[in-house]
Symmetry: C2
């Protein structure tokens, strides 16, 4: 009788400790991989596959479609231990609020923290070439052309309304030390050229934070622009994006260069663009902005607009709406793929 | 007394089952991640970070430098269970061979299998844009230009010497179905142009295997080339690579397009290239081949050569050595970074 008792106790201890070991190992692995994910965009982009591979003892889970907005859902993104703790916190909070606060438990309940990268890249990566993560934007760098493929930012109304402190220590534009010296542009390249330094992520979007403001003066975020285009049309476009942010609260913007072909004779087309400086920095023929504006009600698809501005001395007074462009055309010429939201129809101009 | 005995037994069972659970969970995770790694080049490229994150119960291990040739070493690439099994197999083999075969245990001992991707990409990824894995080569696709950034192949002497079976079912060149239709070139694009379809990974390198041979006729491996350049200089360069393979046994080749700027007046340079067809497929101004030839003795650094051939009607009889080029120049204009082996010095031409 006593022997049976001992065997039973050992089996129970063994099985529970076995699962405890597996659960703890999974928790540690997932925590480590999430730490890497927050800084490495390539691992972040494969997160579903990876976390699927880390399922407890190979147990199968369903994977979602990869090209959807990223929303932290417990069953997708956490270990068994993490989920249990989260569920426990949620239940404790509900019981506590029911007995003592008598409020509806849906508001202000504990939330899974989503990372910095997940916040900016909510609508996906348009391309995967040399992605770099900064505090205020994520950037894909074109090593051949020494400027960005695209820069993605997330604008929030809170940050725009705060003006830049008058005594903030601002820095001038400078080379990006994180890029290998062979592929890096310098301020010297821009010095004796006919073009000025234009920003893809606009510094004025980050007037609330000096670090973010100064970061947008890195040369990886800067492109050679025509002076007149930069000072009038491009600036008005940036101002328009900020106004849109104040209206809708949260706006995502992808900005980047385009190299458009032009007809040279009956059947032949060619791409032609200048390069400046010792590092042969490319001067794009056009620039695009793809704007994703979120609805205040969380279920609705976001509204999207695309603008294409030629990199030339365009008329200062010209209406911004004449630069409206089909996002499919931007995708075609830039070789990028954007999110499929409610795209502004070209036949329905206001 | 009896009680102490039971407690002791339970603790021992508990601890061993705990570790067994952790070890099994780690083994399953690593096996799953390795399966993903064999098909996903981005996860493969971060493998050290990932496997480091999966260390047993967070135990710290040393990581190596990431830009070294990939060699399967047990402690780096496997779970604790996998390593134990491998060590066990090795010891069994040694004992067996010592007693029965009386041979030196170093030869033909069990080896860790390295994956297909690890084999081709032994010398690293020159760039990270849209990487695609095929049976005979790995390719980085330039969605903007509808041709490859680079194609990497691993040539082995065995495959080249076998001639293509005369009744092998060969396929003509065709669009690559794995590329989104918006960024895909078609045979129609090449049809009415002044350029012919040239191969980056040469089909004749794969005469031993019909599948690999046919794969090199996918349009993602094809670039618009000048007919005379293709039929003479490029073909001789491919033949030279095959001769080098027969001599050294194992050769890695990176091939790709270049878009070189030319001077337009005193201080200004520009890039200009034609685009053909409805899909605006770019016609590069030059092509490069970077050749990495391995020594027969495994410790030595590999020997590297770079060639740049203009995409124009170059003289048929011209010596291949006049196209020899500094690999740093190729890196500069292509925006790629190659392995640092023993590079052929330009001052020491034969």
């Amino acid at each position: 009788m006593r022997n049976h008792h001992t065997t039973f106790l050992c089996v129970v201890t063994g099985i529970s400790c076995f699962f405890l070991g597996a659960i703890l190992q999974q928790h540690v692995s997932i925590r480590n991989i999430k730490n890497i994910m927050n800084v490495d965009p390539y691992i972040f982009n494969c997160r579903r596959k990876l976390l699927f591979a880390l399922a407890l003892l190979g147990e199968k889970r369903k994977t979602g479609v990869s090209f959807t907005p990223i929303e932290p859902q417990c069953k997708d993104v956490d270990s068994v231990l993490g989920c249990t703790l989260f569920w426990f916190r949620l239940q404790c909070y509900k019981v506590f609020s029911f007995f003592f606060l008598n409020i509806k438990a849906d508001e202000e309940q504990p939330k899974l923290s989503s990372s910095h990268l997940a916040d900016i890249m909510k609508y996906g990566f348009p391309g995967l070439d040399d992605i770099r993560v900064y505090k205020s934007f994520v950037l894909s760098y074109d090593r051949r052309h020494r400027i960005a493929h695209w820069v993605c930012e997330h604008l929030r109304a809170e940050c725009i309304t705060t003006p830049l402190a008058s005594d903030a220590p601002t820095k001038p534009s400078r080379g990006d030390q994180s890029i290998p010296v062979m592929f890096r542009a310098t301020t010297q390249d821009y010095k004796y050229s006919d073009f000025v330094e234009g920003h893809l992520a606009a510094p004025n979007n980050y007037s609330c934070d000096t670090v973010q403001y100064n970061e947008s003066f890195l040369l990886s975020n800067i492109v050679p622009q025509n002076r007149i285009m930069k000072n009038y049309v491009w600036q008005r476009l940036e101002e328009y994006v900020r106004q849109l942010t104040l209206k809708s609260g949260s706006v995502y913007v992808y900005s980047g260069p385009l190299y458009m072909p032009h007809r040279i004779n009956f059947r032949n087309w060619a791409v032609r663009f200048t390069v400046i400086g010792m590092n042969t920095v490319a001067v794009p023929t056009h620039f695009f902005k793809v704007i994703i504006s979120e609805h205040k009600n969380p279920g609705a698809l976001p509204y999207m607009e695309g603008y294409v501005v030629p990199n030339a001395a365009v008329d200062k007074e010209i209406d911004l709406r004449s630069f409206l462009s089909d996002i499919r055309d931007i995708e075609h010429f830039a070789g990028l793929k954007f999110y499929e939201g409610v795209r502004r129809s070209m036949f329905n101009r206001p």
